[in-house]
C-alpha cells in the first residue's frame, strides 16, 4: 500500500500516518519527493485504505497488491489444464461444452445429446434449477432434471455440468454432476464459493453481470483457497448500455485473464449475446482470440424450447460452427477435441 501525502504536508501529519499504519501491523518505508512524500506500507494484514485517506494531510491511498494469490500467474506460471471426460481446457486445448439452457424432459435431452454426439461433444450442459428474475417464470425441473441429464449423458458417454444455486443443494449435485457451474448471479455468493472449495470436481465460475476481472479472480480465490484448484473461469457477457444484445460479450477477457492467471478462460457466446445469429460469429471470434473453451447452447429444436430458445443453436448450425472452429484453432496454436 502506498500513501501519497498532499503537497507540503507537515511532518506531524506524516508522523501520524506512520504511527497509524504501524499500529495496524504494517512495516513502513518513507520516500520524500520534491512535492509529495510517499509512505509505503508492507504487511499481510487487511486494512481499509479509506481509514488512512481520512487522516490529515493524506492525498491518496493506493493498493499495490491485487489480493489474488493462488489464482495468479505469479503463483503458478504454467497454464492449468483441466480435463473432464477426455476434454481438456487450458494450455493448447480448447474444450467444448454444449447442450440446452434448461432440462425440459428426457426426450428433449436425449434428442439433443444424440445430435451433439455426432459433432463430438463430450460434456453436456442443462439447467435443473434456474435463476429467474421473476418468481412467476419457470424455475426448472429440480432433482428430476438432474436425474434426466445424468441418465442421458451416461447413455451417450458424456459428462454432465449443471448450475448449483445454493449450499442446500450440495448433496444433490454431488450425486449427478461432473462439473459444478456457478452462475453469474452467484459469483459473489461467498458461502457457496467456500463450499466449492471442498468438492472434488471442477467448477465453472461465471463472471457476474457487472463484475470486474479482479473480482472474478478473487471469487476464484475463494475456491482455490479452500483446496479445490480446478476452476474454469467463464466470460458470459456484462451489462452495458447497449440494447441490441442481451449482454456485451467481453472477449478481451481472453488475453487479459491469460496474462493475470494460470486458470483456463472459456466463453459463453449464448448468454453473452442472447441471440442465435450472433452465437456463431462470436464463437469464431473467441477461438481466434485464443480462448480455452466454449460453452454453447444447443437444442434439438429451439422453437419449442421452454427457456432461452432464441439463443440456442440448431444441431446442424452447431455442427457447421464446430467445423469452422476446427479450422481457426490451429492458426492460433490451439487444438479442439
Amino acid at each position: 500500500m502506498l500513501i501519497v501525502m498532499r503537497e507540503h504536508a507537515s511532518q506531524a501529519c506524516v508522523d501520524k500516518v506512520i504511527n497509524f499504519i504501524e499500529s495496524n501491523g504494517f512495516e513502513t518505508h518513507l520516500s520524500t519527493g520534491k512535492l509529495h512524500t510517499v509512505i509505503g506500507a508492507v504487511g499481510d494484514k487487511v486494512i481499509d485504505p479509506r481509514n488512512i485517506e481520512l487522516l490529515d494531510g493524506v492525498q491518496e491511498v493506493i493498493k499495490v497488491s491485487s489480493g489474488f494469490k493462488l489464482t495468479s500467474r505469479m503463483f503458478q506460471s504454467e497454464d492449468s489444464i483441466i480435463e473432464v471426460n477426455g476434454v481438456k481446457f487450458g494450455g493448447k486445448y480448447t474444450g467444448i461444452i454444449a447442450g440446452p439452457c434448461t432440462i425440459e424432459s428426457y426426450d428433449q435431452m436425449d434428442k439433443t445429446a444424440e445430435a451433439l454426439s455426432k459433432s463430438n461433444v463430450k460434456i453436456l450442459r442443462g439447467g435443473a434449477f434456474k435463476p429467474r428474475t421473476s418468481p412467476y417464470a419457470f424455475q426448472g425441473l429440480g432433482e428430476e432434471g438432474l436425474k434426466i441429464i445424468r441418465s442421458v449423458a451416461d447413455n451417450h458417454g458424456m459428462a454432465v455440468t449443471s448450475e448449483i444455486m445454493d449450499t442446500s443443494q450440495l448433496d444433490l449435485f454431488e450425486k449427478y454432476v461432473d462439473i459444478y457451474q456457478i452462475g453469474a448471479r452467484n459469483m459473489q455468493n461467498y458461502n457457496l464459493l467456500k463450499e466449492m472449495g471442498h468438492v472434488n470436481k471442477p467448477i465453472v465460475l461465471k463472471r457476474g453481470l457487472s463484475a470486474t476481472f479482479e473480482e472474478l479472480l478473487l471469487s476464484a480465490e475463494y475456491i482455490l483457497s479452500g483446496g479445490n484448484r480446478e476452476v474454469i473461469l467463464c466470460e458470459r457477457g456484462i451489462r452495458t448500455f447497449e440494447k441490441y444484445t442481451r449482454n456485451t460479450l467481453d472477449l478481451s477477457a481472453i488475453p487479459v485473464i491469460k496474462k493475470l492467471s494460470h486458470l483456463p478462460i472459456i466463453i459463453d457466446p449464448s448468454h453473452g449475446t442472447g441471440l442465435r445469429d450472433k452465437v456463431a460469429p462470436m464463437s469464431r471470434a473467441s477461438v481466434a482470440a485464443g480462448c480455452d473453451g466454449l460453452i454453447i447452447e444447443v437444442h434439438y429444436n429451439p422453437e419449442v424450447a421452454i427457456c432461452d430458445g432464441a439463443q440456442s443453436l440448431y444441431p446442424e448450425q452447431y455442427d457447421e460452427l464446430y467445423k469452422e472452429l476446427k479450422q481457426i484453432a490451429p492458426i492460433v496454436n490451439k487444438e479442439i477435441y
Copy 2:
C-alpha cells in the same frame, strides 16, 4: 406483449406469428397500420420474446406488463407501513436504523448503542457475517456476533437487524434478529429470497450494485409471493464509472419507487457514498426527497473500526445530523421518530 411486424411484412409472416403465439396459450388481436402491422398477445403465460423476434417479418417484440404484481401500486394503492419497536417506515413516517458496519466486540457494540440511544435510535444494525470480495479479509464474528448484538440491543431497548447470507443460516438468524437484511450481492439469490417469504419478520432488501428498479421489485415479489408482505426496499448506491465515490447513490429511487410500489424505500448513505463526509449531505438530501427511512453507519470510534470505519459517523456527527433531519422532514410532510 406487442409484436411489431416489419414494414410490408407479408400476410404469411403475420399468420405464422399469430399461430405461434396462440399455440403458446395467448389470445391475439391484430392492428393494421399504414406501415406496420401490430399483433397484441394477451395471456398469463411467460414466453421468451426473443423466440418471437426470430420469426420472419418480426421487427420488435415489446413486453407490456412489468411482471411485478403484489409489490405494485396497482395491487395496493395505499402505502405499506412497517413498524418495528415503535419505529415506522412508510406513509408519513421516516424510520432510522443505525449502528456499526461490523460487530467487533461486546464493548464496541455497547459503547455505540449507548451513544446512539441518546439520539433516539431504536433499531441497531451490525454485521455478523460479512460478504467480502477477498477470502483473506475479515469475515465477521458469526454467531458470536449475533449474540452480542442481541444482548446489547436488549439492554438498550433496541431492535436488531443484521445481514443473512445463506439459507443455511435461517435457524440461527431466527433466534437473534428482528429484521432480516438481504445484502446487495444477494438481491438475486433466489433460494434465499424464497425462504424470506416464509419468515414472520420484516426484510430489508438492498438493491444490487447494477440492478434496475424493476429487478429490485421483482426480487421483492419473490418474498411477497411467498407470503411475507413486510419488505422494506433499500437504495445503497449503484456501480458507475465515477471513482471519487465508492458507489453512486441514486436518490431518484425515492420518487420512482414510491410511484411504482406501495413498499417503503429507505436509503443507505454510508455504503452509497463510502465516505464519512458525504453521509450527512446525502442523508439530508434523502429526507428532503421524501424517503421512508435511513440506515446509517455509526461507530463509537470509527478510527479503530475493523471494517468500513471510513464511512462511519462519530456519534456526535450522527446526533447533529439527526437534528437537521428533524428540521427538514416536516417541510416534506414527514415525521422522524
Copy 3:
C-alpha cells in the same frame, strides 16, 4: 507518478525503468520494501503510464496528481462566487436559473418569463440550437430564437443563458447571451472549451453522460487555463442501467466537487430525471445536500411544449417548489435569492 515493481524484480529491471523515466525529464526517487520496490517520478511532463507498464518487471504505474490545477481547492481554497444579474452561485449562495427547454416563439417565452418573474427568477434559460439524437427531430429556432430570448429577458429584467454547440456560433452568442452553456455532449469538445477560455462571460459546463468528476474538472481546466475563471459546473444526470429515469442524477456531485474544487456546482434536476414529478423531490434534495444552484425547466404550458415538456414544471409547481427550497436552504446555511 509511482512505479510499483513486481515482487523480486531484478536490479537490472529497476535500473532500466529509472533510466527511461529520467530520459523523459522526470526526477526519480527510490523506495525499497520487503516485497516491492517502488520508484517515485516527479516532474511536470506528461508521460503515458502504459509506456512504463510495458517495461519488464513493472507491476503497476500509479498517477499521483490528478492533473487539474486551476480548478483545484489546492490552488484556491476559498469558494469561487459567480454573480450574474444579482444572482450568486457559490459560497453561501444558491442561485437559480429557470425557463423552457426550447425557445419556441416570442409568446411562449414571454408567458413563461412573465410567470417566472413572479417567483423571483432573474436568469432565463432556453435553447436556440438543440443537440438532437436524430437528424429528423426539431433542431431549434437558431438566431431567431436567441433574438427572442434576449428581448423577452430584457423586458423582464432577466439575464440570458443558452447552449452554444460549435465554435462557428461564437459571434452570434456573444451578441445575445450573458452565460454560455456547454451541453453534456460537448463536455469534451476541446476546440469549443478553448474558445470558452477567451470569452468574458460565465460558462455553465455540464457533466457528460458518462463522464467522471475528474474529467469534468479537466474540461473546466481547459476553460480556466485559457483565462476565464468564471465556470459553473453542472450535474445533469449520468447514463446508468436504470430505465425508469432518463438519467441518474448523481447528487454526490455536490459534496465531492465542493471538496475537490472551489468552483460552484449546480444541479439540473429536469434533464437529470426526465420526468416532471421527479423534479421537485430532486430539487429539494439538491438544496439539502448544499448545492450552489439549480437550473430548472419551466414552461408556461408544458402540454404544448415542442421539446421535453414532460420534464418541465408548470409555473405554479415551480412557485411551490421555490417556497420549499427557501425553507430548506437555511438549515444547511445557504441563501436563495
Copy 4:
C-alpha cells in the same frame, strides 16, 4: 408509436389520448385487448413520448421505428462497399488502415509508412489534432502534421485518414485527407456531422464511449441525410467497469450492425484495448467475426512514441498479425487486400 393504456383505463382517457395524438399530426388505430387497450400512432412527425406518458390512464409509450432510415438495411438491402486507394470496406472485403496514433515528425511517419508498405498497407492513419482529456497534454502538430502525413503517404502510394475535431478545420482537412475521421468524443457533435454530409469523401465514424448502436446509426444518419453516403462505422471500445483494459471492445458490433445496416463496420483494437499485447488477439477475433475492416496503430518504434505508444504494434508484430488475418478471413468468406 404504440400507447399502452393501463388495465381498465376509462374510455374518456382513451379518447383524450387519441385526440392528443391526432392533434399532433398522427393517424391512430385502436386495438382493444382483455386487459389493455393499445393505441397505434402512425406518422412522420417527431413527438416526445413522455408527453403522452403523462396523460391519465397511459401505462407506457413505445417507439416503434428506430429513426434511422438511410442507414438501415430496410432502405438498402445490399452491403455498401466503400473503396479508397484500391482498398475496399464492406461486402466480402476487409480493408485495413494502419499508422501511428499521432504524427510526431516527418522521420517518424516516413519510417512507419516505409515499414507498413511492406505489409501491403495502402491507407495511412495519424492524428494531427488530438482530443486530450487534459489541457496540459500534447495537442498535436496541427496543420504541420497534416502536411507531413500527406507528403509521406504520397511518397508511398498511400491514402490518408486523420481526425477532424471541429467545423473550423474543414478547409484545412479538405486539402490533406482522403478519409475524414470523426472521433468517439465527437460522435454527437451534430454541427460537425452535418458538415460531413456535404463533403465528397468517405467518413470513418467512431462509436462514442457510452453510445448505443442505435445512437451510432442515428449519428451516421446525420451524414447520409446530408448527402454523403460513404460512411464507415467504427467500434473502438466502450466504457465499462473493467479496469484491466482501457475500454471494452464490443465485437458484437459486427453481427449486430451488419444486420441493422448496410454500412461497413470496422474495428479499432488499439483504442479498444489500450494495450499492445491485446491488439493481435482482438484483431484476429474481429476478422473471425466477419468485420469489414480494421484500423490498427503501428509505430516504427513504439517506445519513443509521444502518445499511445503502449497500444501501438511494432512493424514486425503487425506483419505477423497481417499474415494470420489473411489465413482467417477466407474461413468466414472474406478477403483481405
